[in-house]
Structure formats: structure tokens, C-alpha cells
């Protein structure tokens, strides 16, 4: 990489109107790991500037789309005009596997109150009530979740009161989310809102007891492309009992039962750390940051779990599984390295994947030249140690922070203070997340909420071998002759988690960076050296 990242940064923001340029400059940093492990401060989780062309979506997308959508038997009703519900209909590829053909699966259904002018003017509560009743009559679900979209908050519908009333009337669990799109500054607000309501209305309702020795929940894994299936299989082989996943391939009862687990694993820190914290406080369940993206990362994560439970048999099983899987991974790695070594990647996506997927690229011998989140916070970049210094701005301060106290009867500390102290090794990330930046090479660009303009400039300047982003960026990047891998939808491929997923990913990236088509962009006649104009033929 021949470019000076500081120069690139300057050049990138030069075009902006002054105030905007100043703001963007604070959201673009060049990594530099200090001797004390510190990294530069980045501005994140601040509003996107109007007109800038952002990757971001809204709180509703984070709440309904990301966190609640993947669970198969909570019936989701979107309260609002039709569009919001339509666009979230099956587009996130959350795979799910009901235990049998007769078990409920609502994933394929899209429910909406389809608000019309009538409700906008006179209020939509009546219609919402009727819709909940009608939905109950058709589907007979155990639980109904109601999601508010932009106009709902504005016209003042009290969705929570409606939910309470219908809960009483129908005798099933009904709860609502005030996840209007204007809340917060991105999907991130919606994650938080989803966490809060799940915690208040679902967690702890199912007291089913488990005999198993090692009980866990997997938080922040949404089973895109079947990732959760792969991880579930690893747990099974290691003898680890998964009680609930939030929320890939999950169902309502398991979530309601999740407070009985002895450990929470946090996969996507951004979208679900609230839940881990709240469950810790209320039920005494510790959490561990893990990452099942990348073969080495998967092995490390399994070992961390074994370390937490500190059980010889579990440790042995984990080692057996790793030993069974790693040889296949090594063969695949070696193969792709012969073609991918030294190639470069950029990742601009989500709130954790831009970090997690760096591991996979590094395993292939590729270099990360720039990365950033779409809706991460400073702790996702710099690590949780900066949490006390994060100032919540006006745009985010209205998102509820639930006050949680230990449950009178069900708070059970899983570990002694002494054991906790033992686990405080930074490598273990016990109740901690080190963030993206400390793991990146010095001199790499980190850009929060990258704009379209910045994307184009980066690509023009660095010409990376591959760019990772989402659907909106994909084809613009590819038009520039650079392959773009979608890291939200996986381009309808996957799974990429675990050992099996790592191999899939290597092969996929190998395919993309070595596709013939990129060398054929110019037609034969476009590559000719400029020919002299033919001499004019003299008229006879």
C-alpha cells in the first residue's frame, strides 16, 4: 500500500462543505497502537449528514430486521404504512429449522396494518387492535410482537397500551417496540430497543430446568446463510448445551428460558451487548466475547468456553473437535493462499462483521487496507475500556436505559470473585470486548459510517482486490471493476462461521478475486494503442 493514509484522509474530506468536512475528519482515523495499548479516538454513533449518501438504515431495521426477525415463532406485526413491512419481508436470509413440519414458522409471512390516511388522521390504535386479533385467529401464536414505524410515534398511537390490552384479551404474550425509524442515528438504536423489550417481556418466563453441565446462550448470532447451524453443531459435538440463540434459528420458549444458562456468549457485540449486561445484573450470568468467524477464531472461542467452565472433559472434547477440523482448514488455506496471498481487502459493514471478517482474510494471507462500521459505537472500534468516556449525544439520549437489579429469587452468581479475577486475562475477553482497532495494522484507515463519495475515492486510490459491504454498495463497487462481497447477506452463500464456514469463505473469496471477467472489461479494440487517423482519401 503505497499511500499515506493521512494524505488520503485529507484528500477524501477536502470536497465537503466546511462543517461537514470537519465532522467527517473526526470519523476517519489512521490506526496507531500506542505502547499502552491505546488507539486513536474515533467519532462514531453520530447522525449521518443529510445528503451524504450513507449505508445506514433505521432503528426499525435494527429492531425488527436484525434482532427479532430471525426468531420463527414470535409473530411480528408491523404497525405503519405498508412499505416498512414489505421491505423487511424475508430479505435478511435468516434461516430457521423448526423441529417438525407441524411446528410454527412465521418467517415467511409479512404482516402489516397497512395504515392509510384515515389512521394517520384519526389514529391507528383501533386498527392495530383489530389486526392483532385477526393475526391471532389465523396463526394462533404464543407471542405477538408489534413494531412501530415512523408515523406511529408522531400520531401518538400508544402501541404499548394496545399490546397490554391484547395480551389480556388473548391470553398470549403481546409486546411492542417503539422502534420508529427516526430514533437514534442508525439501526443501532433499534438493537437497543429490541434488547430492552425482549428483556422486559420474554426473558425469564420459562423455568424449564436443565441437567446439563455446560449451559450457554449464544447472543448476537442471526443465522444468516446458516451460520448458527454450523455453530450449533460444534456445541453439540463438544457437549455444550445451547439453551437459546438470540436470535438465529430460535424460538420463543428457548428465549424465555435463557436465564437458566450459566454463560452468555456474545458474537455481535454491537447488537446484543445490552442483553448480556442486563442478564448479568439480573440473573448473574457472566458473558464472554467470542467470534466464530475464522477458523483460528473459532478454535480460540471454543477454548475460551472450556476455560470458563474449567472442566477437563470439556477441554478434551474441544481439543478433539479442533483436531478433527483443523487439518481440512489447513489444506484449504494452503490452497487459496497460493492465489490470494498479498491481495488486499476493505470492509465497511455492520457493527461487528467489519471486525470479525478481518480474521478470515488474514487467514488467507490477505491484507486489510481499510475498514469501518456502518453503525458501530466507539467501544466497537476502541474497546469497552472507553465506555466510561463515551458521551451520549442528543440523538441517542432518548433511548431507554433499563435499570436492572438482581432478581430476588433467581439471581445466582455463577462464579466466585476469585474465579472471576482469574478470568480477567485480556486475551479471554471475559465480559470485555477489545474492539476492532487494536487488532489492526498501524497506518490502516478506519472510517465510521463511510459515505459513497469516500467509498469511491478509497477504491480509486487503493484499488483493493476486494471490497466488502452491503447490497446498496455492491454493484457500484463492481462497476469499478472491483469485486464486492456482501457481508450482510453473504451474496446468498454461506455459511461462513466455524471451520466449515471458513473453508467456504476462502473458496468464495478466491473465486471472486480471481474471476476471469475482471480482466475482460476492455474490448480488444479498446486496448489498442492509439492509431494514427487514416489519411483522408482524396476525392477523385
Amino acid at each position: 500500500m503505497a499511500h499515506d493514509a493521512h494524505e488520503v484522509k485529507k484528500e477524501m474530506v477536502a470536497i465537503y462543505p466546511k462543517k461537514l468536512g470537519k465532522k467527517r475528519a473526526e470519523q476517519i482515523v489512521v490506526t496507531e497502537l500506542g505502547p499502552d495499548g491505546s488507539v486513536p479516538e474515533i467519532k462514531a454513533n453520530v447522525r449521518s449528514s443529510p445528503g451524504i449518501i450513507t449505508q445506514r438504515g433505521c432503528a426499525y431495521a435494527g429492531c425488527k430486521g436484525v434482532v427479532i426477525g430471525p426468531s420463527r415463532d414470535i409473530l411480528s406485526i408491523v404497525h405503519g404504512p405498508i412499505g416498512c413491512s414489505f421491505y423487511a419481508w424475508l430479505t435478511r436470509r435468516n434461516q430457521t429449522r423448526p423441529p417438525s413440519d407441524s411446528d410454527p414458522n412465521f418467517i415467511t409471512y409479512c404482516l402489516s396494518t397497512d395504515m392509510t390516511e384515515q389512521e394517520i388522521v384519526f389514529g391507528g390504535e383501533k386498527k392495530l387492535k383489530a389486526a392483532i386479533k385477526e393475526a391471532y385467529d389465523v396463526f394462533h401464536p404464543k407471542a405477538i410482537a408489534v413494531f412501530s414505524t415512523c408515523p406511529v410515534g408522531l400520531i401518538g398511537d400508544d402501541v404499548h397500551a394496545v399490546a397490554r390490552q391484547m395480551k389480556e384479551e388473548l391470553g398470549i404474550n403481546v409486546f411492542a417496540f417503539s422502534c420508529e425509524g427516526y430514533r437514534g442515528v442508525s439501526q443501532s438504536a433499534g438493537h437497543h430497543i429490541a434488547n430492552n423489550q425482549l428483556f422486559k417481556h420474554v426473558i425469564g418466563l420459562n423455568e424449564l430446568a436443565h441437567e446439563d453441565k455446560f449451559t450457554i446462550n449464544l447472543l448476537g448470532e442471526y443465522n444468516i446463510g446458516g451460520d448458527a447451524f454450523v455453530i450449533e453443531d460444534l456445541f453439540r459435538r463438544c457437549g455444550i448445551k445451547l439453551i437459546a440463540t438470540f436470535s438465529g434459528n430460535s424460538d420463543y420458549d428457548s428465549m424465555a428460558n435463557s436465564h437458566t444458562a450459566d454463560l452468555n456468549l456474545v458474537m455481535c457485540h454491537r447488537s446484543i451487548n445490552y442483553m448480556a449486561e442486563m442478564m448479568e445484573k439480573k440473573f448473574g450470568i457472566p458473558w464472554l466475547k467470542i467470534n466464530f468467524i475464522g477458523a483460528a477464531a473459532t478454535a480460540k472461542s471454543l477454548r475460551k468456553i472450556a476455560e470458563y467452565f474449567d472442566d477437563a472433559e470439556l477441554k478434551a472434547k474441544v481439543e478433539t473437535v479442533i483436531a478433527e477440523e483443523m487439518p481440512k482448514v489447513d489444506v484449504a488455506q494452503k490452497d487459496v493462499k497460493s492465489r490470494c496471498q498479498g491481495k488486499t481487502a476493505m470492509l465497511f459493514v455492520g457493527g461487528s462483521r467489519a471486525h470479525h471478517y478481518q480474521v478470515l482474510f488474514k487467514e488467507m494471507g490477505m491484507e486489510i487496507v481499510a475498514a469501518g462500521y456502518e453503525f458501530g459505537h466507539r467501544d466497537d472500534y476502541e474497546g469497552r475500556k472507553v465506555l466510561p468516556t463515551i458521551k451520549v449525544d442528543a440523538d441517542s439520549k432518548n433511548i431507554e436505559e433499563i435499570e436492572v437489579r438482581p432478581d430476588e429469587t433467581r439471581y445466582v452468581p455463577r462464579l466466585s470473585q476469585e474465579r472471576k479475577a482469574q478470568l480477567a486475562d485480556p486475551e479471554l475477553e471475559f465480559q470485555d470486548y477489545v474492539g476492532m482497532m487494536p487488532e489492526m495494522e498501524d497506518g490502516t484507515l478506519v472510517i465510521d459510517d463511510i459515505s459513497h463519495h469516500e467509498t469511491e475515492r478509497l477504491i480509486e486510490l487503493y484499488k483493493p482486490s476486494i471490497f466488502c459491504a452491503g447490497i446498496k454498495e455492491k454493484y457500484a463497487v463492481q462497476k469499478m471493476g472491483i469485486p464486492c462481497k456482501q457481508l450482510h447477506s453473504y451474496d446468498y452463500g454461506g455459511p461462513y462461521a466455524g471451520f466449515e464456514g471458513a473453508i467456504n469463505f476462502y473458496r468464495e473469496i478466491d473465486r471472486m478475486v480471481n474471476m476471469k471477467v475482471w480482466s475482460l472489461v476492455k474490448a480488444p479494440w479498446q486496448t489498442l494503442a492509439p492509431q494514427p487517423e487514416p489519411a483522408p482519401v482524396a476525392a477523385d
Binding site: I15, P50, I53, C58, C84, G153, G181, A476
Partner: protein, 460 residues
Amino acid sequence: MLLRHTTAEVTERTALTINPAKTCQPIGAMYAALGVHGCLPHSHGSQGCCSYHRSTLTRHYKEPVMAATSSFTEGSSVFGGQANLLQAFETIFTVYNPDIVAVHTTCLSETIGDDISQIISKAKADGKIPEGKHAIHANTPSYVGSHITGFANMAKSLVTNFAEGTGEDKKQINLLPGWVEPPDMRELKCLAHRMGVDVIMFPDTSDVLDAPQTGKHELYPKGGATVAQIRSAGDSIGTIGLGHSASTRAASALEEKCEVANEMLELPIGLQATDRLIEAMRVMAGVKVPDIITDERGRLLDMIADMHQYIHGKRVALWGDPDQLVSLCDFLVCLDMKPVYILTGTPSTRFEKRVRAVLGDSVPDVKIRKGSGADMFLMHQWIKQESVDLLIGNTYGKYIARDENIPFVRHGFPILDRVGHAYFPTVGYRGGMYLLEKILNAFMDRQDREALEEKFELTM
């Protein structure tokens, strides 16, 4: 079963839509705005809407879909979005330098009641819109109408903002294509060109949403109607508007503003609807129909005659947008097929009348539904009551197709899982052939898959 909770028994629903057969206005406005050269669509609301609309259009076309948003926060939803839009104009013109910013509203800004005309005037007064550049808008509240309404509103806005009658008589006709695909627009221009008719077409998304791979991303690809073209629409001989739901507003606005008379036709899908378009162009422009077009018509006719045994009498269920459905029914009837279930989520007062007009008495037991309550859950229930031989509609039909094992031809918006719609037309005679080929393949592939071994045919 993917749709395991859908049963044949229909219970009355008044408030709940399940599996909609429509979406919201802004995406239509965004699509229409992309059909103008050098135009950046702008969504005035919170940023989720814009993100969803761009994503859906992108999944449909596998192409970049650029648009900006006002990124409302809680503050803007209380105080209104004027400051956001003003700032957006400044950033957009500085950074992305479009010729035009086409603003559409969202549920949020409509509920707040932002006055976009006033904000645009202010932006002009404040010097936020550079000389020679344009900002236009369409109101697209999603709680009224559907995505089709949004398209119609933005198409109309192009007329009210740009079309001008200068008094000069231009030997050209306006062709409003309605909501069709880029290859359809290209095909329509090609037909006109072959007839020697100069047309002004807008919106025109060909060469925008099917731009070639060149190694360079053009933020404003070479296609799209230019402002100069739209302006000159006011001096044309007349307007042919295709698709009543999508094009009537723009056609009427042209008539009102510039006194250009219009003739409204159904979309030219299939033999007879294309005949009517060719006739209308012939008469309006006073030209002859060249043999190349008559021959093409003959080829479509020939194909129908040759393969009729595989299609006649087949029962078809269709869902989608009113204009598309009316013309598809027209074509199916001409093939001696039976469109038995026809449904659109778009509210449209004349829909049923239009469908019945093309059906005549060919399908006495037809079921037609539109607007609220007309969703794909209901369609599926009809199918469960009495099945059909073929489904025609957008990608969401694949769940019904698989559960019920029914051949399925994708048509309409959105198509998220196939690519043909972005490259091959379904309008005109050639489009008819492409559509017919797809219908035939659906039946024949099924026959090949399911025939008994001794009944497996080599020649079909």
C-alpha cells in the same frame, strides 16, 4: 411447507394485511427519478426508507441505485425537516454534482407536513441550488396508494417542473412508458425508431439501470431523459400514455399545462395491446408501419399457433400492478388461457372494469381483488380452494409455487431471484415472444420433470 399456516378457509380480515401485493409510494418515485439523466433521487424522511428503497431496487436490477436521504432524527420529526433538506441540497450539489435533485417525501415528512415547495424556494433564495441546476419534488405519502402512485406522481412532477409549450410544433410524439423495465423502454424506443417516429420518452431508465460494465462507476449513467427532452414534450404532436395507473397523471398534466392531447393505452404486453400501440403511433405520427414490424408480429403469431396445445385452457393466477395485470390478462386471453385469479394491492377504482374489459366472457368464474385486503395470503387461499396451472407474479410467489407445486413465471416487481427481466423486454412483439417462451418453458419443464418414463417426449 414454507407457508404452513395458510389454510383454504378464508376468514374476514379488515385490519391485517398478510403478504402484501404492493409496496409504498417513494420507491416508485425513486424509480421514476432514476429515469431522468443526471438526476439524484432524494428521500425526505428518516434514512431507513431510503435504504430500503435502494436495496429493493438494487436486488431487482443488480445495479447501483444511488439516492440520498434527509436522515431525519427525533429532532427533525419534532421541528420539521427543513434544516435537513437545506443541508442535503448543499452537500449533494457540492459532493455529487447532479443536474437535478428529485425529492420525494415519506410517511414521516408527510405526517409532519413539511412543505417541500417552500423549502425548495428557500434553498434557491439561499443560493443552495447552483445556477443551471434543478430541485424538483413529488409528494408521495405512503399511506395513500402504492408504489405505482409514487411513480405516477414523480412522472407528473417531471411534467409540471420541466415541460414547456413554446408554440413551436415539433414533429415528435411523447411516449410515457409507465412502470416498465429498462429493456421495455429500450424496446419501445426501438419500435418507434423503426417506424420513423421521433419520441420523447420519460421516465427512461434504459442505460441507467442496465448500464454496461466498463470498469468505471458512472454516478449518472448515460441514459435517462434529459431536461431538454422533457421540456420539449410541451411542443409535441401528442402524447401516448401507457398504463392508466402509472401514466395518466403525467399525460393529463401535459395536456393541462401545454395543451398536448393524449391518448391513453394499456401497456403493450402481448399481441393485441402491441397492435394498439403501433396503430396509435402510426396514426398520431402519420407514418407507415414498416414490414420489419409486421413480420415481427407474424413471428409472435406463428409461435402462438405452433405451440397452442401446451397453453390453451390453462388456469392462471396473477398478482402485481394494475397496468401490468390488465395487459397480461389481455395476452393470456389471446392465447386461449384462463386468468382465473387476479389481484393487486394497489387501490385502483377502475381496475376491475379494465380487467373485465379484456377478459370479455372468457373466464366467467374469475376472481378479481384490489386494494386493501387484496394480498398474497388471500391469493394463496384461493389457490388452495381450487388450484391453478400457472402463477405469474413477482418473486414472492415462489413460496406458493413450491408449496403447491405450480409452474411459476416471474413478472412484475420485485424480481429478486432471476435476471431476465432486467435485460429482455416483455413489451412489443419481441417481448411477447420472450414472455411466451417463459410460459411455455414453465409448462414443458414440468412435463419433462414429471412425465412417466414411457410418456417422456423427445419432440414437443
